[in-house]
Subunit: 150 residues, 2 copies
């Protein structure tokens, strides 16, 4: 069902300073930046490696753009650190349906994530304290559409 | 310097129950189990994907085996959840030296990690709240030894 660690999401107060830390200290470069108004965050994606499902893994840095966003609330409660872990799938809607049927709360339907992906989340209290994200990348969307099952 | 997300380390109270959750709900199987007496943990590695540096990414589940281990103290303070993020390198000693020279506290010299790897950690207060592990896998050791620089 899931074929990779898609990304690790890290909450920070200052996206530019944190991205510079990852570049200078660990050698990871920002490969994409965007604002997700719905999630209330500015985010940077730092590609760490390619994965054997044809996609890639990333560090995702998240800075809140308003005080009532989930990431702002996380920072107020916990301070900076790991916010969530995301797993990649070719079918986020199907994965969410299957997981919901296993007694885990799915937090809303698939919606836009980073770089044209479709995402949803699982309740951390149902996942051993880990806010777990499900991701279908834009490339996986395109592949699904151009290579239908036969 | 770092060529992959090697693993995400997750602290839990009950390794077997948490591994069963990852199998049943997310479809990830335990591919390795061991006890690390020095770190004071029992751990399970769940391989999520291969990586384009010839290694792989894992979810690492950690259950303390004694009350004074770092993971036991983490659980007492924070409850279950993400404990650390590990990045893979072909030269953990060199990476640690370089990073120490950039003003980040390295927590001890390279020592045994999961599956024959060599590991060390960076202080979370120097890394935006993320306990950051550096990993040189056993395969990377073997490759280095069998293919010396010419």
């Amino acid at each position: 069902m899931f074929t990779r660690i898609d990304h690790v999401g890290i909450a920070c107060h200052d996206l530019d300073a944190t991205a510079e830390f990852y570049r200078r200290v660990l050698g990871f470069e920002v490969t994409h930046e965007e604002v997700n108004e719905e999630q209330g965050v500015r985010e940077a994606m730092l590609r760490t490696n390619g994965t054997d499902d044809g996609a890639a893994s990333y560090i995702q840095l998240l800075e809140p753009i308003r005080a009532d966003s989930p990431v702002a609330r996380f920072l107020a409660r916990h301070g900076e650190g790991v916010h969530h872990v995301a797993f990649g799938t070719g079918d986020v809607a199907g994965a969410a349906d299957a997981i919901g049927g296993r007694g885990v709360r799915v937090l809303g339907g698939p919606r836009p994530g980073s770089m044209g992906s479709r995402i949803t989340f699982l309740h951390p209290k149902d996942c051993g304290g880990v806010l777990t994200e499900l991701v279908q990348s834009a490339q996986q969307d395109a592949r699904t559409e151009s290579e239908p099952d036969e």
